[in-house]
């Protein structure tokens, strides 16, 4: 039999390809373009190879904010994931209270980042902010504008306040998908509450937890607005995270070459860590 080879169907991919090209590939290639050249204006440019990359990889300031960034994301994950799971386990399963809880949990997710920053900036002030005033009345010294630790904790608490709901809601949906018969079987088998959590709830929540971990990692690794609104990255450089350093470099100092090189490194770091999380969490599935 003669098989007619016809690859015309590939043309159907064209619209999507064009869309992706304009929205993702071209902007990204622009960045690549900047990262390997020194561009002054439309007609003046020199190819510099990996020079910008070498420069940013040796930049002390970037090293510092990268380290801060990793510590911050680790703290976010270590607090938000267990806290989200705990909240999901405590939420009522049906009735009016379940709906009420869901709505309350969803509210922080609807508030824009810069509003969150402003809320906490005012909330934490000792003169007009409820939190700051209460703490100072209690005799606890708290000043996010001057004290490194206070600023750090404030940004962390802000993020936890903003995003733990997301983890909790994802876990809640995972928990609701477990059929009742699993709990019944566990009761028959005399499983302890811990065993139910360890052997039923946690394994069944795994896929939503994977999504939660990835989203929270990527988001927290790119945090910009909240510390910027709160202290502008201060005091000193205490809450200057990667994206703020990058913005300063690109928009403040107009070092487009090094900024482009660093953007790509930044992108690769997120890709690498996300891949590592994914591989680690799905590793067991392949075992026989």
């Amino acid at each position: 039999m003669n098989k007619v080879i016809n690859n015309k169907a590939w043309w159907l991919v064209l619209p999507v390809f064009l869309l992706v090209a304009f929205s993702a590939i071209l902007p990204m290639m622009t960045v690549v373009n900047y990262s390997v050249q020194d561009i002054f204006d439309a007609s003046t440019r020199t190819f510099v190879g990996v020079e910008w990359y070498q420069q940013v990889l040796q930049n002390e300031r970037l090293h510092d904010s990268l380290l801060r960034q990793f510590i911050f994301s680790a703290c976010v994950l270590l607090i938000e994931i267990p806290l989200g799971i705990a909240i999901a386990l405590c939420m009522p399963t049906k009735g009016r209270w379940a709906s009420a809880c869901l709505i309350v949990m969803a509210i922080p997710l609807l508030i824009p980042w810069n509003v969150i920053g402003t809320i906490w900036q005012i909330f934490g002030r000792a003169d007009i902010g409820l939190l700051g005033w209460t703490l100072s009345e209690l005799g606890i010294s708290y000043n996010y504008a001057a004290n490194t630790m206070d600023a750090w904790v404030t940004v962390l608490v802000m993020d936890v306040w903003h995003w733990t709901s997301l983890v909790a809601l994802l876990c809640y949906s995972g928990l609701r998908a477990i059929p009742d018969v699993y709990y019944q079987a566990a009761r028959i088998d005399r499983a302890s509450a811990w065993a139910v959590f360890r052997h039923i709830q946690l394994p069944k929540m795994k896929s939503v937890l994977l999504i939660a971990v990835m989203l929270r990692f990527m988001d927290s690794f790119m945090i910009y607005t909240e510390p910027f609104v709160l202290t502008g990255g201060g005091p000193g450089n205490a809450t200057t995270f990667l994206s703020q350093t990058l913005t300063k470099m690109a928009v403040g100092q107009f070092d487009l070459g090094p900024a482009a090189a660093f953007s790509l490194v930044y992108f690769l770091i997120i890709l690498l860590v996300s891949w590592a999380f994914y591989t680690a969490m799905t590793h067991n599935d392949q075992q026989r």
Binding site: V181, Y182, Q184, A185, R187, A191, H199, N284, Q287
Partner: protein, 365 residues
Amino acid sequence: MAEIRLQNLAHSYSAQPSGAEDYAIREMTHVWEQGGAYALLGPSGCGKSTLLNIISGLLSPSEGQVLFDMREVNDLSPQERNIAQVFQFPVVYDTMTVFDNLAFPLRNQGLAESRVTSKVHEIAEVLDLHPLLHRKARNLTADEKQKVSMGRGLVRDDVSAILFDEPLTVIDPHLKWKLRRKLKQIHEQFNITMVYVTHDQLEASTFADKIAVMYGGQIVQFGTPRELFERPKHTFVGFFIGSPGMNLIEVSPYAGGVCFGQTRVPLAPALCQRIAELGGQSLKLGIRPEFVHVSDEPFVDALRGEVRHVEDLGTYKILTLELDGVTLKARLQEDLPVPHKVAYIGFPSQWLMVYADDVLVEVRP
């Protein structure tokens, strides 16, 4: 090991039941004796699973008592009742190996690890799970998972009872037969009370010594498979057990028997008297297709009917007959002559049942 007694038990899922329809289980008193192998047979939605969950303690009955060896256990949890239950769909602990799954209930009991190992191997032997013991339970097929599920129920031998809720639904037919045999063997070996819920009469009669037939939230008959077949106490039992089910004909009484159309069926005087005592209830005459006497030649007191359809099922034939406007089924052995067009029909009196409002009319001895 225990005798399970249900005393005036009733259950409703609604908080304020207003009528009989609101009850999943209507008031019943029933005893499952120690060491028996029982089947609970009935159509979907008749309350079988509800009853099972009440016995195991997963559900608390709204009325009445559950007694284990005459001790009330209404407020005890499944753990305290020490009961094992196997569910319709397989439940395995995904992250554990098959071995750990089987060991799980024993370890929760605090059994010594050496005892756990020997018990698990014993049950794995019975269920042919040995080659799978060190595999993760997640990657098993549906019937392997169900075997693991069953294994977890069977591994504890000190339990009051083992309850099975249609455990073989997801299992291959040839394996079904094997597993039923296994269950029977396990029952004989350990002498544990077993209650087996099913909607399959064959499954019920091969597993159980006694079958409880449930219909509309009630146990309508409790007896051996033979009793259910020969003397159904309720038209539902007659209809549900046997293939095809019992012939049921609406009849009205006359002096000396019952009649439909022009056909008169004489009955024993004692039975006629009993029917007269009961008064104006809806009466039905029931006879199993196996017991309808069919011949191609006239005989004494034969009724003349027409043959509508013959179905050859190999070792026997099923005849569809019409008698005075009523359709009847009769089961004929393969070696008997098959009547053409006209059949002469007889109803042997010992197999004739009369039902008043669907309940068997019995003559007091």
